[in-house]
């Protein structure tokens, strides 16, 4: 045993290694990414780890490993589970042999996501058990339990940490021991082939299992009932930590902590409800525990008032905080609210996230904008760093929906409004994730779009993971690079060109020819993310030549170009030397700096 300072995601990874995991797959997505990376970093050598092309592939490869008897782990963010919903739902009927844990990290807030969906609903929908850790140290222990339950019941299980658990760090006792798992290999059996008849039979089994699991969970070590009184608070996940913080061990009430919202531990919950007048439920995202308790009260004719999101006592969107939980608990328990007034703050600068200084995406967006000046065009975006192309002054993202949707949304737009040129921007990793079927759709249905692939040779948003186009795998091995150019050509895209976005003239003319070509055409802008290249000589503004027209600021929006007492200046600590501002300046006032 040794004590380590670990991030929740690292704890989940080390916990899985300790539990004898043999196969790990996933697709990067905040806040889940570091789990798989940590397994790879601490790989004792016999664990297979891969970044899959998307979450569906990740879940299916892991299912295969588990059919063959290995313990498998799949990681993704909550919206990734939507992509993997198809295998998930069927797998719930088929079951597994080796333990299989699906980590889907939820993101209340949301801090870095398109939705505030609650994976606990997915557990109810698929009828799979779900584990909901309340701290990194608990996550470390709980992931091992999740594997055990998975094998005990022969079913995949869901594990849903939230951002504050994933990205919180804590001091954790780490065990050096590792469970030995020797997979037997795949045994041929009709149980692995889903057919309507088998589905019906397995459905009966799944339904029969639900109450058994609920009963089992009533004595699960991380579901806990403490305290006494006529009032009770029910909570789970990180909200449990906020509740403890505000109660500070001093309050006269019952406290129910739910770590497994599905199947609901009814027996334990009934024990909690007995003798209570009123309950406050504090949870993040949807009122899952709240509805279960309300249902239980109805089923058992209990006269207990349940307060929470459904009654307006707790906010039903956004993340909880110690402050919001304290306010809800104060009014529930009739405690005097703390009255420390906060001083009024002066007007603070607004800081929306932006593309980094020197980011090649800025140049690509700028080139397309220049090429389409005065023409009717709609720019559909996608998920990645380049979503930030929506910010002023670029303003080049008109739609953004979900992974891969830019290409297909552009087609729908074009069918209804054919006089506009419809552009679809997509990053390299997203192209492989779910972009390709959309391209096929356009070629097959002959819908004219201009595809702009922003190829920066990495998965930048989530911290630079390799993907099929990088020629490197998570195991560090060199693999054949899949060429986006060849893929597009093979799919029948009529006009495909490559251009360096940092050369504005070349980039603008590439876009113009793609638009003129008509049909489904594509430009691949190739320039590596600044985080994977070396800075070039920097640029500076020659004050003698600068007319202060501010075209560079008005049109480009590079964070390194700043105004100081009315003068335009380049901040040397931020500049990456991409040279694009120098190409934009009409007076040649931006020059390479000598040192």
């Amino acid at each position: 045993m040794s004590k380590q300072f670990l991030m929740g995601n690292e704890a989940i990874a080390l916990g899985a290694i300790r539990a004898g995991v043999g196969f790990v797959s996933g697709y990067p997505g905040t806040p889940s990414t570091e789990i798989l990376e940590t397994v790879a970093k601490n790989n004792p050598g016999d664990i297979y780890v891969e970044w899959s092309t998307n979450e569906k592939s990740a879940m299916e490869t892991a299912a295969g490993a588990s059919y063959a008897g290995a313990r498998s782990l799949v990681t993704m963010k909550q919206v990734g589970l939507n992509v993997a919903a198809d295998p998930l739902m069927s797998l719930a009927y088929i079951g597994v042999k080796g333990g299989m844990v699906i980590v889907a990290a939820d993101d209340p807030g949301p801090i870095s996501s398109q939705t505030e969906q609650d994976t606990r609903h997915f557990a109810q929908f698929s009828k799979l058990p779900v584990f909901d850790p309340s701290s990194p140290e608990e996550a470390y222990e709980m992931i091992c339990d999740a594997f055990d339950y998975s094998e005990k019941y022969g079913t995949p299980v869901l594990f849903r940490p939230t951002t504050r658990v994933c990205h919180g760090c804590a001091s954790i006792e780490v065990s050096e021991e590792r469970k030995k798992v020797a997979p037997e290999g795949f045994a041929k059996d009709s149980r692995w082939v889903i057919f309507p008849r088998l589905t019906y039979q397995n459905h009966l089994k799944v339904e029969a299992r639900q109450p058994v699991l609920g009963e089992d969970f009533s004595s699960y070590r991380f579901n806990r009932l403490t305290g006494t009184g006529k009032k009770g608070i029910a909570t789970g996940g990180i909200s449990y930590a906020y509740t403890c913080e505000t109660l500070n061990g001093s309050e006269n009430c019952k406290l129910l902590k739910i770590a497994t919202a599905h199947p609901f531990p009814e027996k334990l919950a009934l024990e909690f409800l007995s003798g209570l007048d009123e309950v406050l439920v504090i949870e993040e995202l949807d009122p899952v525990i709240e509805k279960e308790l309300t249902y239980l009260c109805g089923k058992h004719h209990l006269n207990v008032k349940i307060n929470g999101k459904l009654t307006g006592h707790v906010a039903n969107a956004g993340e909880n905080t110690v402050e919001s939980v304290t306010a809800a608990v104060d009014s529930f328990l009739g405690r005097a609210a703390g009255t420390e007034p906060s001083k009024e703050l002066p007007a603070l600068p607004v800081r929306p996230p932006v593309l980094c200084a020197g980011c090649p995406h800025r140049a690509s967006f700028y080139a397309v904008k220049q090429a389409m000046k005065g023409k009717k065009a709609v720019f559909s975006g996608d998920i990645g760093c380049y979503t930030l192309g929506n910010a002023a002054p670029l303003d080049m993202v008109d739609t953004c929906l979900c992974m891969g949707a830019g290409i297909t949304v552009a087609q729908g737009l074009h069918r209804i409004q054919p006089d506009a040129v419809n552009f679809a921007f997509i990053g390299d990793s997203t192209f492989f994730h779910t972009g390709i079927p959309g391209v096929i759709n356009a070629v097959y249905n002959e819908t004219d779009i201009v595809l702009i692939v922003l190829d920066n040779s990495t998965t930048a948003m989530t911290g630079h993971q390799p993907h099929p186009g990088t020629g490197r795998t998570m195991m560090g091995e060199i693999s054949e690079k899949i060429s986006i150019y060849n893929v597009l050509t093979a799919l029948g895209v009529s006009h495909v060109s490559r251009a360096n976005p940092l050369n504005l003239e070349e980039a603008v003319s590439a876009v113009k020819s793609a638009v003129e070509a008509g049909g489904v055409s594509a430009v691949i802008f190739e320039s590596p993310c600044i985080a994977v290249t070396k800075p070039q000589p920097l640029y500076q503004v020659n004050a003698k030549k600068c007319t202060r027209c501010k075209k560079c600021i008005r049109e480009l929006g590079c964070p390194a170009v700043v105004l100081e007492d009315g003068a335009v200046k380049i901040e040397p600590s931020l500049c990456y030397g991409c040279s694009v501002c120098a190409q934009v300046c009409p007076f040649g006032a931006i020059e390479r700096s000598e040192n």
């Binding site: 004590k3 300072f5 991030m7 905040t30 806040p31 801090i111 870095s112 701290s135 504050r164 990205h167 919180g168 760090c169 804590a170 001091s171 990180i238 930590a241 906020y242 403890c244 913080e245 905080t321 110690v322 402050e323 304290t326 703390g338 420390e340 906060s342 001083k343 703050l345 002066p346 603070l348 600068p349 607004v350 800081r351 929306p352 996230p353 932006v354 593309l355 980094c356 760093c385 930030l388 910010a391 002023a392 002054p393 948003m461 600021i553 008005r554 929006g557 590079c558 964070p559 170009v561 700043v562 105004l563 600590s573």
Partner: protein, 195 residues
Amino acid sequence: MTNCLLAGVGGQGTVLASKLIAQSAMNRGLNARTAETIGMAQRGGCVVSHVRIGNEIHSPLIPQHKADLIIGFEPAEAVRCLPYLKENGAVIASIKAVKPITAALTGSGYSGEEMTVFLKENVKNLYLVDAEAICNQLGSAKVLNVVLLGAAAGAGLLELTLEELKKTICEKLPERFIELNCHALSEGAAAVRKG
């Protein structure tokens, strides 16, 4: 229990600084808990790291009015976090403003000075550091985080000694960055004593 908030702009290295504090506290046998901003905000947005040291901590987020110390990597970000500061808590801040593009675009002319003035008027226990000058002198803008840590420790605000931080740097950073960061630490400490 000590609560320390590190506030800055994405890319300034608050995450590493909070790790160094927490790890140093652990080396002393204390428990630590942190919460980080990771994701989209790391691209130039506001980022905050919460560091809590002690044995009976539940929430990874510091409640408002409970921070003993705010380390501002940027003056406006220090101001933004003031609601977290407890009465008589300390603030240490770099005086160099990071100007968002929105300021350049609207010509609002945010210079950072209005923020340092506000801090001076409202925080009794305040330390301002010209961290940029030190970074320039060391030839790297990347060590801003460690310069500020050095300043905080040098001013006696961290309950950790410079030696303890140095030891953690040597343990946790890649070999090639150790010397530069140890320098940054002592330069930060020296600057704050003078100021």
